[in-house]
């Protein structure tokens, strides 16, 4: 759960870098072969990853990933994992270390997993259920801070547990009756448990090899690669083959290259420049965190050879206008509805980079079946807004002469919550007689400001990305009244505490049939949508370049990124 799972790029250098990229595309060497991303994959070689963000804290207890992450998933196998296929099928959860995605019992409060036979760590020792248990317990240690919050909330006894260093007895709610079986006891029904089990905390950690806060330097691999070098806390990672990993127990990771070389700390325009030029090793390179910006995309699209090397990805993410109904005039639903009618989604999408980089949104849930997407629009404003209807509503609300509101936004455009979006909102609302004034907050401090019930503004730009493709991690943190946090990070911006909504969330969480649950999340989304607690604006689309020697490109809708475990180098 996060406001910005992937920082998009800074816009400062956009115009220049795009112009330069275009120049290079025109003058650069033309590759003779026609690139086909799906040609027969070749085993061996080195896959290069060029990223902005270092792979910090390479410790499975401390990482916060969706579906096990990109680089982490090459080293850490987990009980379950994401289905490594293109598109919507790639939102499914599949077994990894376990033989199935879990057997629920007692109304989905107990989950049992059996490990596959023949699983080994990089040193050849067998992987047992005790190692998986220990891995999860480590994530509770204050020494290994970070990671997702679910374990403390979901596991019986998790709220007070301090990790195996202080409390070596361990958590009773994780039982290991034999070396191949592990049983989880939860505080409440959680039909989505198999999705949680894709996170790196479910990777086995051998207790004898645990080095505490130093474990990140060389975590013990259960996946196809082990860490050969980790420089400057994940700025440069070199992974080599783990000789004890075998395709016999791993049907998901292809692991074609012999070596994976991850270099981070690069500037986004340089990454795209290198991928487009593709000289030397850069022909064998990909990126997992750098999108093409609108200007670069326009340049790339005009070059056939380059255009064939753009991967398109969808990640469940919604950007929206958030209201705090405790602040006037947003306590008045008519005012909120008026704003919903006034919004011009065409100009909003343009501000986010145009229709190839963003889809207009009228639902809070992302437009993917896995989340339970049910198309609806409670305040149909068309593509460009309905200011006339907005003015009527304002009159009914007691503002016949319009009103002035304050919109809080980030000081830069890197996260789709900056001045560009704010201006698009301002223009649209002006037509409806609403004057928008701006309050800009430094982006380092933005989340702190909007996530604290003490400092939360009345009207602000926000975004939400899901930890896994399901309605639960999308709707519950935002609309479950029991998740309102008064002394920490609060994501329920509307501070909605509706007993029927809470009860519906509980009921859907008992469902272990994902398709059935998805339908009900969709219905709940539609029900909440009527209350105009937010105005959905758009869902972003990722466009990323990959090198000209890259084959077997797989981009799951789970996270919308090129899967490193599937890619091959020509």
């Amino acid at each position: 759960m996060s406001h910005h799972p992937h920082r998009s790029r800074r816009l400062a250098a956009v115009a220049v870098s795009a112009a330069l990229l275009g120049g290079a595309a025109a003058c650069g060497p033309k590759s003779g072969d026609t690139n086909s991303a799906d040609a027969t994959p070749h085993k061996g070689g080195t896959l290069y990853v060029l990223n902005q963000n270092p792979q910090n804290e390479f410790d499975p207890a401390r990482l916060y990933t969706t579906g096990g992450g990109d680089v982490p998933s090459l080293v850490f196998r987990t009980l379950t994992t994401r289905n490594r296929v293109n598109g919507a099928e790639g939102t499914k959860v599949v077994p990894d270390l376990a033989t199935d995605t879990g057997e629920p019992s007692q109304n989905a409060t107990v989950w049992t997993y059996h490990l596959k036979k023949g699983l080994k760590f990089e040193d050849g020792t067998p992987i047992t259920s005790a190692d998986v248990k220990y891995g999860i317990e480590r994530s509770f240690a204050p020494e290994l801070s970070g990671g997702p919050p679910y374990f403390r909330d979901w596991l019986v006894g998790g709220a007070g547990y301090q990790g195996p260093y202080k409390d070596p007895q361990g958590l009773d709610s994780i039982a290991t009756p034999d070396p191949w079986t592990i049983v989880f006891h939860l505080t409440k029904p959680e039909g989505d448990f198999p999705y949680l089990a894709t996170m790196t905390q479910f990777a086995p950690v051998p207790k004898a090899k645990d080095t505490g806060t130093n474990y990140y330097k060389h975590p013990i691999s259960s996946g196809p690669y082990e860490v050969a070098e980790n420089q400057n806390d994940g700025v440069h990672l070199i992974l080599k083959r783990n000789p004890y990993w075998s395709t016999a127990t791993d049907s998901q990771r292809k692991a074609y290259p012999d070596t994976v070389d991850v270099l981070a700390g690069l500037d986004p325009s340089v990454i795209n420049q290198r991928l487009s030029a593709g000289t030397g090793n850069d022909a064998d390179a990909v990126t997992t965190d750098t999108n093409l910006d609108p200007a670069e995309l326009a340049q790339v699209s005009s070059d056939k050879q380059l255009a064939s090397r753009v991967g398109t990805g969808h990640f469940g993410e919604t950007y929206y206008l958030a209201f705090n109904p405790k602040v006037k005039p947003f306590d008045n639903i008519k005012v909120r509805e008026a704003i919903a009618y006034a919004i011009n989604r065409t100009s909003v999408v343009n501000a986010a980079g145009g229709s190839s980089l963003a889809d207009p949104a009228t639902t809070f849930l992302p437009d993917q079946a896995a989340f339970g997407y049910t198309p609806y629009d409670p305040f149909p404003a068309g593509a460009t807004g309905n200011p006339a209807r907005a003015k009527e509503l304002l009159k009914e609300a007691g503002y016949p002469n319009g009103l002035t509101v304050n919109l809080t936004h980030e000081s830069d455009d890197a996260d789709y919550k900056g001045p560009a979006l704010a201006t698009a909102v301002q223009d649209a609302l002006k037509a409806a007689g609403i004057t928008v004034k701006f309050t800009a907050v430094q982006d380092d401090n933005y989340d702190n400001t909007i996530d604290s019930t003490k400092t939360e503004p009345g009207f602000f730009l926000s975004g939400w990305g899901a930890d896994w493709p399901s309605g639960a991690p999308f709707l519950a943190p935002i609309f479950d009244g029991r998740q309102i946090v008064t002394n920490g990070s609060n994501f329920n911006s509307a501070q909605l505490n509706d007993p029927t909504v809470n009860a519906t969330i509980d009921r859907i969480n008992t469902l272990t049939d994902h398709a059935a649950a998805a339908r009900q999340w969709g219905a709940l989304d539609q029900q909440i949508g009527q209350e105009a607690l937010d105005v959905p604006l758009f869902h972003p689309i990722y466009k990323r370049l990959f090198g000209k020697n890259i084959r077997n490109v797989v981009i799951e809708d789970w996270d919308g990124r090129l899967d490193l475990a599937e890619a091959a180098v020509k």
């Binding site: 130093n214 990140y216 806390d233 270099l263 500037d267």
Partner: protein
């Protein structure tokens, strides 16, 4: 001379102590909660309290500062969960974020920034002083105009743009150079050189204009002075006049400016480091400030401070060498 050095040293230590105090003060006045940040999302107050205790943030500020000073002189111990990690003196503490020792974080990044800064200084002195010389001696000719235009253009473009342009031209279009990757000098001197060539050139183009101006102005000034005319009348060679007298006069101000610029490079070459993906001190500082990683910020500030103070001390000594009228007291 001994007395001079001792006084300089005492001055340097007091500057650094003051620096560390100021950074500590800023962090405690600024509204931020490093324990909450280190703990992660949805940490309960109890968990945040545990992290606070682990990081030593529950102690009063003066005690935290005293522990920090203690670490510098005698070292400290930190728990890793499974054992104890000893941080040898001079210990600057451990990162709130990674638990790594600040001294080792600095040790891996310092060579990168030092390579960048020192190499760039050599390059900007060559280009800047060279241009200044040529423009003083060959006023109005083509070489003078070309060099002055180049250095002025370099100075008027942001570092970021110069760097990108160089990357495009030399790595992408002409493909004379690979995209720079930092390789340590001790690992492979040749790769080190090629990897840093563009960052050096970028900084040199950006910095050299003011050196050119400075050199040109001082040279012309000196050459117009009476004693030079007298030397000329005595038949002293033009080459000797320029190298032994005119250039020497210009050098004092060039040295002073270089010392300041070099010191700033140590903490302030962030844009160049970012653009060329150099894992140096500047980027470490920016990142650590964003995540409120106080021990790292203090560590970087101190190291940068050491270099600024040290570079200025060296400049003072060089003054005396370049200009015999200067006496160190």
């Amino acid at each position: 001379m001994k007395g001079y050095l001792l006084r300089r040293f005492i001055g340097m230590v007091s500057v650094l102590l003051a620096l560390s105090l100021v950074v500590y003060a800023i962090f405690y006045i600024a509204p931020s909660n490093p324990a909450q940040l280190a703990c992660g999302l949805k940490c309960s107050p109890a968990q945040v309290a545990q992290v606070r205790q682990r990081l030593g943030l529950d102690a009063p500020v003066y005690l935290q500062y005293a522990r920090f000073l203690e670490g510098i002189f005698v070292g400290r111990d930190f728990s890793t969960g499974t054992g104890v990690m000893h941080c040898n003196a001079p210990c600057l503490g451990i990162s709130y974020r990674t638990g790594e020792q600040v001294t080792s974080m600095l040790a891996t990044r310092l060579p990168v920034t030092a390579s960048l800064a020192l190499g760039a200084m050599v390059a900007w002195l060559l280009l800047g002083v060279g241009t200044g010389l040529v423009s003083a001696l060959r006023r109005g000719r083509f070489t003078e105009r070309a060099l002055t235009t180049l250095t002025l253009a370099g100075n008027s473009l942001p570092v970021f743009i110069i760097g990108l342009l160089l990357l495009i031209v030399f790595c992408s279009v002409l493909q004379w150079l690979p995209f720079p990757t930092y390789v340590g000098l001790s690992q492979d001197p040749q790769q080190w050189f090629w990897g840093l060539l563009l960052p050096w050139t970028t900084l040199a183009l950006y910095e050299s204009a003011k050196y050119a101006r400075l050199t040109r102005a001082s040279m012309l000034e000196t050459l117009a002075e009476d004693h030079i005319r007298t030397f000329r009348a005595y038949g002293v060679g033009e080459r000797h006049l320029i190298t032994r007298h005119a250039l020497r006069g210009a050098l004092t101000s060039v040295i002073a400016l270089s010392a300041i610029d070099l010191g700033t490079m140590f903490g302030g070459a962030v844009l160049t480091e970012s653009l060329f993906g150099l894992p140096g001190i500047g980027r470490l500082l920016v990142y650590s400030v964003q995540i409120v990683d106080l021990p790292v910020v203090v560590g970087v500030t101190l190291v940068t401070g050491v270099f600024v103070v040290f570079a200025n001390a060296v400049a003072d000594v060089l003054y005396a060498v370049a200009d015999r009228r200067v006496v160190l007291t």
